[in-house]
């Protein structure tokens, strides 16, 4: 007998306590409830489908002079709702088959600390705060050079078929394994070779991701006394919060975050005053190399300091800002509804000659926008903290799949914000200094020389914008963050404050992004250090002891040196830095996704659900094709702008020919730097792609083996019968309400503990 809402293979073990109400909604009742299409339900879904369809028509088919931002919002939200209701449900019923009669790790391993059942709505917010960062804010901005349609399509379709699927699957499988990490699951499912390759790939990928995130901050703060002051102030603010929480009022998290937020606002306003004084400008105008070294030193110190002093308070502040600002931006976009003048698809999509990031739509769109559509990094979060806090198995759909939909929505808003600024200004800000010369005249000449229809950039527009946002110049502020900040500032000033407030909003947005990134840098370095210690521990057991200071410092130093070297390389790159490195970021992130999906596919095959194996196989195939072909282009392409080795050989040849300048490199030293940088970038590309191919191949072998044998070893924890109940989704169904009521009348001594109330 098969039940659609749960695999009942452990029926003998999962006998519920007769003194308790049922721990799961009766599968048949749930099934009936779902099949019952009342006229109201039909009307709602027809309405959503029509609104979504109409919005997509406005975006994709109607070619007016402009398109209103509201259609992006409606197209995204309606598509998410439909995908969540129908596709994620299909995954739940056919592939994962969660069983609410089974206790989750939060129940059977409950310790009130790490393993603590948490209300699903709270955990949704928690999980979202952990997965969303600067990634979905930056990628869509850079991809906007190809027009608004390719990015929008990829963000929305990518998330429903790939990104949210990955997060959901990884979270579910990790939950069934007591919250095991992706690395441990890879080792178990793929064996030593696949597991080791996955571990090394993860480490290498973390290094590159931290380096490029740090590069985004450096580019946003370079030559900006206002930005440097206000972002630097986050350190004393966080330290103060840490001491406050430790010694003055432990546990008053919201209170201290509010205080921190007020101080943060003062730091932004104060930055404005300081940038108007001569001494302030003198002290806080730093070149990019100095800032990069500052971040490297900061990264090391932050990773060895105790968590309570810097990392934990900074994380509270970052979560606070994240929820507040994203909510605020959504409201502002809906109220101001900016008109977007960018064409649907630009010539750069096919020529690949875009100045922001090189390469044509396939495959480079799909690696430029990683977070927001498909982000491998999430697999590290979805296996770990969150699965240890899930109250009931069926909630993974809401938290895993639904959480990723929310991040995708953030990416859509970032895209809208970037698209709402003038195209000429967009290209002036995002073309590297190698192209614009870093001057207003150079930028005007370069952008107008691109031959884009409808783009006529004037030097007044650039200097006016710089004055409005309180910066010396906005030319070649690459990395995406400053562009997004201008976009956010434009949208927010239309709502609050007018152009007089634009400088505040600009620096507010810069602060917001820098805060996320610095938190990711701290946490990334720390996580990477533990992974490294664990790996070295296989050979030198002493390294396993994470409280051993020397080992901890040494491993931290190795990790910081790794990302620091790439950061310095990016900052000093004569070719521009972000445009050469960003593809590597996206490729690394998507390769991690491919690894995670490969592990999930092997697990699905071992569970014996072959008919629906395409659910992980489809996004895996796509991610593998995209990233491997992008890597191959980066390695083998003869076009110097795209292929790292082609660039390497071109500059090497020029050096050997005794030339003194080549391309945008004006000196022999610069040419040597290009040769060095392209060597590192090319080598990293090879390392990533080789490791990933190994992991994917071992996963495919494991899958085929399982399919032939009709299944494989079950690596799940032994099932334990649950003694608690909670609804699955955001909205409780009538059957769930009824069951909840039964639990509510239970004597309090019989009722198992629930947290979050």
């Amino acid at each position: 007998m098969s039940h659609p809402n749960g695999s009942h293979q452990h029926a003998d073990v999962l006998v519920s306590d007769p003194d308790l109400p049922p721990t799961a909604v009766d599968p048949q009742a749930a099934e009936e409830e779902e099949r019952r299409w009342t006229p109201a339900k039909i009307a709602i879904w027809v309405g959503i489908a029509l609104l979504g369809g109409f919005s997509w028509t406005m975006l994709a088919l109607v070619r007016g002079e402009t398109v209103n931002a509201i259609w992006f919002v409606f197209a995204a939200v309606c598509t998410y709702l439909i995908a969540y209701r129908f596709y994620s449900k299909l995954i739940e019923r056919k592939l994962l088959k969660p069983d609410d009669r089974r206790a989750t790790p939060a129940e059977y391993k409950a310790d009130g600390k790490d393993y603590a059942a948490t209300d699903r709505r709270v955990l949704y917010g928690h999980h979202f705060a952990a997965i969303a960062g600067a990634g979905p804010l930056v990628g869509p901005v850079l991809a906007a050079q190809m027009g608004y349609l390719p990015g929008t399509l990829w963000i929305i379709i990518g998330v429903i078929l790939a990104g949210a699927v990955q997060d959901y699957l990884v979270m579910f499988f990790s939950m069934r394994r007591g919250g095991r990490s992706l690395g441990q699951m890879a080792r178990e499912e793929l064996g030593v070779i696949g597991g080791t390759a996955a571990l090394i790939a993860t480490l290498a990928i973390m290094i590159i991701i931290v380096a490029i995130l740090a590069l985004v901050v450096v580019n946003a703060l370079g030559e900006s006394p206002w930005g440097v002051f206000s972002v630097a102030m986050t350190i004393p603010i966080a330290l103060f919060m840490g001491v406050y929480l430790r010694y003055l009022r432990p546990g008053k998290v919201t209170e201290v975050s509010l205080i921190g937020f007020v101080l943060l606002m003062l730091a932004i306003v104060g930055g404005g005053w300081i940038s108007e004084t001569t001494w302030g400008v003198e002290i806080f105008t730093l070149d990019r190399i100095t800032i990069a070294w500052g971040i490297i030193i900061y990264g090391f110190i932050a990773a060895v300091l105790p968590v309570w002093l810097l990392l934990a308070p900074r994380d509270y502040l970052s979560t606070f800002m994240k929820i507040g600002t994203i909510g605020m931006l959504a409201v502002a976009i809906i109220i101001t509804r900016p008109e977007i003048t960018t064409p649907a698809v630009t010539e750069f999509a096919s020529t690949g000659a875009g100045p922001v990031v090189p390469g044509s739509l396939f495959p480079f769109l799909f690696v430029t926008i990683a977070c927001g559509a498909l982000s491998g990094f999430h697999a590290l979060i979805a296996s770990g903290t969150t699965p240890k806090m899930i109250e009931k198995e069926r909630q993974t759909r809401f938290i895993g799949y639904g959480g990723m939909l929310m991040e995708s929505f953030v990416a859509i808003m970032a895209l809208v914000a970037a698209l709402s600024i003038d195209r000429g200004i967009y290209f002036a800000m995002n073309s590297s200094a190698a192209a614009t010369g870093g001057t207003i005249e150079g930028a005007v000449a370069f952008v107008n020389g691109l031959g884009l229809t409808g783009v006529n950039l004037t030097s007044e527009a650039l200097s006016q914008l710089a004055a409005n946002v309180g910066e010396e110049s906005v030319v070649s502020r690459t990395g995406g963050a400053p562009t997004l900040a201008v976009g956010i500032a434009q949208i927010m000033q239309a709502l609050i404050g007018g152009s007089g407030m634009m400088a505040f909003w600009y620096h507010f947005a810069i602060m917001f992004e820098a805060l996320f990134i610095l938190t990711a840098v701290d946490a990334g370095t720390r996580v990477a250090r533990f992974m490294l210690q664990d790996s070295i521990g296989n050979f030198v057991p002493r390294f396993r002891d994470t409280s051993w200071r020397t080992g901890a410092w040494l491993c931290t130093a190795i990790m910081v040196a790794g990302w620091g070297a790439i950061l310095i390389m990016g900052v000093t790159d004569p070719l521009g830095g972000i445009n050469t490195l960003f593809p590597l970021f996206g490729i690394a992130n998507q390769l991690l996704a491919a690894i995670a999906l490969a592990v999930c596919m092997a697990i699905c095959a071992k569970r014996g659900v072959f008919k629906y194996l395409w659910i992980p196989a489809l996004p895996l195939a796509f991610a593998a094709v995209v990233t491997i072909s992008a890597s191959f282009l980066k390695i083998f392409s003869p076009v110097p702008n795209i292929g790292y080795w082609a660039q390497h050989n071109a500059f090497k040849g020029a050096l050997e020919a005794g030339e003194e300048s080549f391309g945008s490199a004006q000196s022999v030293a610069a040419m040597e730097a290009v040769v060095r940088n392209t060597f590192v970038q090319g080598t990293l590309s090879i390392v990533f792609v080789v490791l990933s191919i190994i992991v994917i191949a071992t996963a495919v072998i494991a899958t085929i083996k399982a399919v032939r044998q009709g299944g494989g070893t079950n690596t799940e924890d032994t099932p334990v019968a649950s003694r608690t109940y909670a609804p699955a989704g955001l909205i409780t169904t009538p059957a769930e309400k009824e069951l909840e009521a039964q639990w509510r009348v239970l004597d309090s001594d019989k009722r198992p503990v629930r947290s979050g109330h």
């Binding site: 409950a110 310790d111 009130g112 600390k113 790490d114 603590a116 948490t118 209300d119 709505r121 709270v122 917010g125 928690h126 952990a130 997965i131 969303a132 960062g133 600067a134 990634g135 991701i209 995130l213 929480l245 430790r246 432990p250 546990g251 008053k252 998290v253 919201t254 975050s257 105790p306 968590v307 309570w308 990392l311 934990a312 509270y316 979560t319 606070f320 929820i323 977070c371 982000s375 990094f377 999430h378 590290l380 979060i381 903290t385 990134i517 990711a520 701290d522 946490a523 990334g524 996580v527 533990f530 994470t546 409280s547 992130n589 198992p752 503990v753 629930r754 947290s755 979050g756 109330h757």
Partner: protein, 69 residues
């Protein structure tokens, strides 16, 4: 709807939002720990609030959580 009822609803909604917000920020971790402790019928007294938060950050020291990009 009477004014009192409307006010009551508004208060309830505000409480709900505050509860959700505090939950997402992680403020109710100590309460969750106390609830758990009470349910286990452990003879040992639970950690005090100060001890609990120290223990929590110390655990994070030994077991870092990733933060995404």
């Amino acid at each position: 709807m009477s004014i009192n009822l409307a006010l009551g609803r508004a208060r309830e909604a505000a409480r709900g939002i505050a509860w959700l917000f505090k939950g997402v920020m992680g403020e109710n971790a100590y309460q969750a720990y106390l609830d758990h402790h009470a349910g286990t019928h452990d003879a040992e007294p639970p950690m005090t609030e100060r001890e609990f938060w120290r223990d929590k950050t110390d655990r994070q020291d030994a077991n870092p959580e990733g933060r995404c990009c």
